[in-house]
Subunit: 359 residues, 2 copies
């Protein structure tokens, strides 16, 4: 099979199939979620993640079914009235829409696809700031200092970061962030079916406050219930046990490699591809402002040559990701995740450099 | 490993590990949920289920993360004000509690654990009747005619059946039922992480009506959104693709065997164990009224001999399920699912008959 650069579901991390085989051998898929064996797996996953992300004490790691679920649960549990969303693509927009659907007064600051945001000047006083660190649809990443500045702008607001297609790459300052989430089928290279939601004590207190006022914060997956179960290394419902097991294993693999090594490799591979796109006669980076170019999802403007370049790469064993939505015919996306080796990226840029239009 | 009789997560159906290996070989875990290949898997699963359950036209099959999620979504989408719950154990009680948590006027008819319900006399006019066909915590199954009678009692109400630990065994009359759900880690013998929700057009119309009145029916997993996606063989979010694939495969295996053969085997195995419990000097059926004895989760009252009997069975390669909750020390539960062979059940009753107390 070709190496797959689709940004998600991603090509599996190379150790996953072996871990899955071991899981079946050890009876993991039929473990009771109330057993000590499951609690151990839960702890293995969350302790590993705490180490990998260098999470300070006071943060809880919770499991949902998808990042989409966490869009809903985070608004439901953390917002009584108003949230402020930074929208620059399809996924940040969907988060905003979910807040609107839940009847919240959702505000947005919107810029065209492919662009970053101008420095922020506080206007309203929202309860929650929703920031999509890496807009998977366009390849724009928010600079970390942009994200970290909201604590000063709005000391009372909760800062919530959608880091779906960037973790474990970004090195967030957890003093400046209250909640963070991702789904496992992106940079962790796992089968889809699990969302990971990280919250601090301010989030938990906010949900409890909303609950005490009689606001609807959901049932089995409201924050107090998730947290109470998480403290026992359990989940409220029968979860995707196999997926939590696989996450624990891959996080252990990442920790053995070291998050700094992963970050350095990511930087190296991104620099390689951006450099090639910058000087390429036909293919260009879609995101032109270097400050907001994503290191984990790189989007190339391939224009009328899209189908031909795609075919050329596939012939050489590399499957590019399609452009998102309406850009399917003019862009190609390249995930730069831990599963994508330096050698694969070197082959990719070689091929792009060698590519010549048919006519 | 011993044969596991825990009613869920169940021992895997014997074909699952092979199907999982094939899934990895074919790249299923990293398939895009917007690809034609995924749509084919979705269709394979839903068409197979329609055949297995003999579902009439007009029913839609939808995927959620768990039956617990469907408890929440069904109340949220189908009830404006009031639901009526038949409570006779921990799971039917939890469904009732979720309705209460969602701010609905939830009514209940409650009987002690291990008992069925007296014939129903209509009193209030609820919008939804919630019936737990098989109470996994106690081994009580509602007789089908009890379930089917609600259409006459309340022609306007939606009849919703939690069939978590009984499907595909019960042969429901789908003219008398509006919605049905189960989770795959019970009788389908699959890894946990997927709930299956079946709804008819009355349910869809009800959700649309609630939505048009501005009632909160949720966001990405509200019924209209789930149905719109399902009609394209898609899901709103990135789902547990691997699990949908495995479900499709196991349903195909079940269809090859034939649902009638599965039902007959289930009846045979249940009769064997109930017969043994009935005449046993020490172990007795916990549910004494034959009319409501579950065929798929059989609960034995083992009293002070519980630990000793459990140990004896494990020594002979059979792992009984613990009693639920406070009955852990006095009961054992035996799942009777398609993965449990006739030979295994014959061994189980032989062992129970041979068992002699240590003193």
């Amino acid at each position: 099979m070709p190496v797959n650069f689709t940004p998600g579901p991603s090509q599996l991390y190379f150790t996953v199939e072996g871990h899955a085989r071991k899981a079946f051998r050890e009876g993991v898929p039929s473990l009771s979620h109330r057993s000590a064996a499951f609690e151990k797996i839960y702890g293995h996953a969350t302790e590993g993640l705490k180490a990998l992300l260098q999470l300070p004490a006071g943060f809880q790691i919770l499991f949902a079914a998808s990042a989409t679920e966490i869009w809903e649960r985070s608004i439901q549990n953390l917002v009584a009235e108003s949230s402020l969303h930074f929208v620059n693509g399809s996924f940040s927009k969907r988060y905003f829409e979910i807040a609107t659907q839940l009847g919240k007064h959702a505000l947005k600051t919107e810029v065209p696809a492919g662009q970053g945001f101008a420095p922020y000047t506080p206007a309203a006083s929202p309860e929650l700031i929703a920031l999509t660190h890496n807009e998977t649809s366009t390849g724009v990443a928010l600079p970390l200092d942009f994200i970290h500045a909201f604590r000063n702008h709005h000391p009372e607001a909760l800062v919530v970061v959608d880091a779906v297609s960037s973790l474990p790459y970004p090195k967030f300052d957890f003093d400046k962030i209250d909640s963070l989430f991702f789904s496992v089928q992106k940079a962790f290279g796992l089968p889809a079916g699990l969302g990971v939601w990280i919250v601090n004590e301010k989030c938990i207190a906010r949900a409890e406050h909303l609950q005490s006022k009689g606001l609807p914060i959901g049932t089995y997956h409201n924050l107090p219930t998730l947290v109470a179960n998480s403290k026992k290394n359990q989940t409220p419902e029968t979860p995707n046990v196999l997926s939590i097991y696989l996450l624990a294993q891959v996080v252990e693999d990442f920790n053995k490699k070291g998050v700094e090594a992963i970050r350095k490799e990511t930087d190296y591979k991104a620099a390689l591809l951006y450099h090639t796109l910058q000087k390429h006669p036909i293919v260009k980076p879609f995101v032109t402002e270097a400050r907001v170019q994503s290191q984990t999802v790189l989007v190339a403007h391939t224009g009328t040559a899209t189908a031909e370049i795609s075919k050329f790469l596939i012939q050489h064993g590399l499957q590019p990701g399609d452009g998102y939505g309406e850009n399917k015919k003019t862009q190609l996306r390249f995930a730069n995740f831990p599963t994508h080796s330096k050698e694969t990226y070197e082959l990719l840029v070689d091929l792009l450099e060698k590519y010549e239009p048919a006519n």
